[in-house]
């Protein structure tokens, strides 16, 4: 889902850059409130894992692949704000070292995958978790479900940016929307499965390290949804 340079014009790219910087600053402040000695290595590990998992494209349709976004995974494990920082760091490393995602598009990618993918994705998780009765045993399934939903949500961010700042005038935005939505609903199934498996594995071994679970052993920030 990494946007290269050239898809979106400079105005919207710059606006997204400012939004990304603002969002990152808020995330730093909010994460500060709940970061503990225990959470620091966990957040660093989650960043490395999201990077690694994003390298593994899985086949989705003939001629098309997808890979983990990881926003909900990171947010459920280390909280939405540290999760937002994790995703932003991964995107910065990918753009600066691996030529994945354009440099002028970095703000766009952070808005879509970090602010929408992790923070809005966590909001979806919290709503599902409340509706599901707030049981620890439901954490992996609901994290997977929220992750599944987060992919078309993040992809809709791209469609919005393309509608506002796309560099080709003649393209029907409705047609792009349905094509992006359809493909990313399918990619979201993979996202949901991977998130379910990984969150499930951490819940089995160290439930006290899962921020989004009632079993979490640390302090939390004010919840987005109580």
């Amino acid at each position: 889902m990494h946007i290269p340079d050239g898809f979106i014009g400079p105005g919207i790219s710059a606006a997204a850059g400012l939004t990304a910087i603002g969002g990152f600053a808020v995330a730093l402040r909010k994460a500060r409130d709940y970061l503990t000695d225990r959470l620091v290595p966990m957040a660093a590990l989650v960043a490395a894992f999201v990077f690694a998992a994003q390298m593994v494209n899985f086949p989705v349709l003939p001629g098309m692949s997808g890979h983990l976004l990881g926003g909900v995974l990171a947010a459920v494990l280390v909280g939405p704000w540290a999760g937002c920082i994790v995703m932003s760091l991964v995107l910065i490393v990918e753009a600066l070292l691996f030529a994945d995602g354009g440099l002028s598009a970095l703000g766009l990618n952070i808005v879509n995958m970090s602010l929408i993918g992790a923070v809005v994705g966590y909001l979806v998780y919290r709503v599902l978790f409340r509706l599901g009765g707030s049981r620890p045993t439901a954490v992996p399934v609901l994290a997977g479900l929220a992750a599944m939903i987060s992919v078309p949500l993040a992809a809709t961010g791209f469609v919005l940016e393309f509608g506002l700042g796309g560099t080709v005038e003649s393209i029907s935005i409705g047609s792009v929307f349905w094509a992006i939505l359809g493909t990313h609903v399918l990619i979201g199934i993979g996202e949901g499965l991977i998130t379910f498996v990984v969150v499930g594995a951490v819940m089995r071994s160290r439930p006290d390290l899962v921020y989004g679970s009632p079993t979490f052993g640390g302090t939390r920030s004010e919840e987005l949804v109580s």
């Binding site: 340079d5 894992f49 086949p59 390290l209």
Partner: protein, 98 residues
């Protein structure tokens, strides 16, 4: 502490296996965005990345050794950068309270 180290070590091992071993079997087909861009006719508006000629560009591209290098470098850099940033953010709290 020991329990924490065991979890961290196991997590790092899994991460390296994903980046170095499982990544070898990754699909090389375009991702969803690139696929739609091709179908809808805006793929050609993509500009080459300034670092497109780097050995790490596109995680090594077709080169197996550069793919392995990319996996190891990427995991260590994100881990190190993450540790650094989160340590600074946390110590900021300590100084704000003290």
């Amino acid at each position: 502490m020991r329990k924490g180290m065991t979890f961290f070590g196991a997590g790092l091992l899994v991460t390296l296996v994903v980046a170095v071993v499982i990544a070898q079997f990754a699909s090389t087909e375009p991702d969803g965005l690139e696929y739609v861009a091709g179908q809808e006719g805006f793929l050609e508006t993509a500009q080459d990345h300034p670092l497109a000629e780097s050995p790490l560009a596109d995680y090594g591209g077709d080169s197996k050794s550069n793919l392995i290098l990319s996996g190891v470098v990427g995991v260590l850099v994100t881990l190190g950068l993450g540790y650094l940033v989160f340590t600074v953010v946390k110590s900021d709290k300590t100084s704000a309270e003290g």
